[in-house]
């Protein structure tokens, strides 16, 4: 791994102290037989090239097309994502309806279902989101471009233990004829956190 990004650090530039500290720690752990370069490469590659929101999107699309799967997913998230080959998380799935909107946060740290959605974006881990999502979720959602009427019940899930939460978004109108794979392509990371809704195909296309 060390060689891949050497060009980011010109030899004349002072190294970020955090980088130096991380390299020193890595070097010591390798010497002690606790780490190796292929561990670093493979762990990083798993999150950079494999796991990501497209995993969760497959789960959502299946739930939209298969009512039995939807019921199993809401009743036992771990077993239901296991049916699609996903795991690594003690998962609870919460469902949006026209009357209920769910939003996920971790105020104490940054807990996130990363084996299903990939690693969280920086904003999810930032003090503004962690602080404000529980106090003023409507104001936060407005910043994300989502204006919900007062009649919608907002449920904020603060992940304070070892359960992880994913939102099952509403299936957008006008998607009745779409196949499962095309539906999955509409589902975004933000919709599964609950800071967005899934847009109909035309709008999703225009947003790209």
């Amino acid at each position: 791994m060390s060689g891949h990004h050497a060009d980011e650090h010109h030899h004349r530039e002072p190294e970020d102290p955090l980088s130096l500290r991380a390299r020193a720690l890595e070097s010591l752990l390798v010497e002690k037989g606790l780490l190796s370069s292929d561990v670093v490469d493979r762990v990083v590659s798993l999150y950079e090239k494999d796991i990501g929101p497209h995993y969760g999107a497959k789960v959502v699309a299946r739930a939209w097309v298969d009512p039995g799967y939807r019921r199993r997913l809401l009743a036992d998230g771990v077993a239901a994502i296991g049916e699609l080959g996903f795991g690594g998380v003690d998962l609870m799935v919460v469902e949006n309806t026209p009357a209920v909107h769910n939003l996920v946060v971790c105020t104490l740290c940054s807990c996130y279902p990363h084996t299903l959605l990939g690693l969280p974006p920086v904003w999810y881990k930032s003090p503004p989101y962690r602080s404000r999502a529980v106090i003023e979720p409507r104001a936060v959602l407005r910043e994300f471009g989502l204006e919900l009427p007062d009649s919608v019940d907002i449920r904020v899930w603060d992940s304070s233990a070892e359960l992880r939460y994913m939102v099952l978004p509403l299936r957008p109108p006008g998607t009745e004829g779409l196949a499962e794979e095309a539906l999955a392509a509409l589902v975004t990371r933000d919709a599964m956190i609950g800071v967005a809704v899934v847009e109909p195909p035309a709008m999703a296309e225009a947003g790209r």
């Binding site: 650090h9 720690l25 752990l29 606790l34 370069s37 762990v43 304070s160 359960l163």
Partner: protein, 228 residues
């Protein structure tokens, strides 16, 4: 805590923002696989950062601080050893990321497999334990406690009335597990709090509630006559 301003977002954010973030992530996952320090000890060490530094630090800076604290506490490395290695590597950006000896840069596929398997494996925090005292629909009052130790009862939800939403069985208890005091499993619940109970007149218009996953010993039965 208030006053953080808007939630700032970046388009097309990379998974990691710097090479050292990749290293810190992998170091932490490997340490977890070896069982050197647990997730509660990891969070406890982050919370022990000096508060101003904690707020200013990036996410992986906190992970790095936690790794250093825990690896030293567990006797895996020493601080002088780390400082000596930093001195040696300073000004050698391409060198010795994988150790100084020729043998130490070798791949260890067996170790990589174990770390990957641990990452993809099912988390293991559920334990056998006592029968839960509360049932769904029961009204509870969270304890108004302010311990110096690690806890997962957020400050904003202390001394508040809520309703048991779900009962989950027993889980490892972070308040002890973070301090080497054992797993001491306790029943875990999801508790619903009305936003007006949490924030009073500062709550937004419209119906809102916050759901928290709380261990039984954070909870008391709601007093007779207490209204939500």
């Amino acid at each position: 805590m208030h006053g953080f301003g808007p939630v700032e977002r970046a388009a097309n954010e990379p998974v990691f923002h710097a090479e050292w973030e990749r290293r810190v992530f992998a170091i932490t996952r490997a340490a977890r696989t070896h069982g050197i320090y647990n997730i509660d000890e990891s969070r406890r060490a982050i919370e022990q950062m000096e508060p101003a530094r904690y707020l200013a630090a990036s996410y992986y800076e906190r992970w790095l601080a936690s790794a250093v604290t825990n690896l030293i506490e567990k006797g895996v490395i020493t601080r002088p050893e780390l400082e000596a290695r930093m001195t040696f590597l300073a000004g050698r950006p391409d060198e010795a990321a994988h150790g100084e000896g020729p043998a130490s840069s070798q791949d260890v596929p067996e170790l990589a497999e174990r770390v990957l398997a641990a990452l993809r494996g099912q988390p293991n925090f559920r334990r056998a334990g006592a029968a839960p005292k509360f049932s769904a629909g029961d009204r509870v009052l969270t304890r108004n406690v302010h311990p110096r130790n690690h806890t997962r009862l957020p400050r904003y939800a202390r001394g508040k009335l809520g309703v048991i939403h779900a009962v989950h069985g027993s889980f490892v208890f972070p308040d002890t597990n973070a301090h080497g005091l054992g797993e001491i499993p306790h029943p875990l619940y999801t508790v619903r709090f009305d936003a007006r109970v949490l924030w009073s007149s500062s709550a937004e218009a419209g119906h809102e509630s916050v759901f928290l996953d709380l261990w039984e010993n954070y909870l008391l039965p709601a007093p007779e006559g207490a209204t939500l």
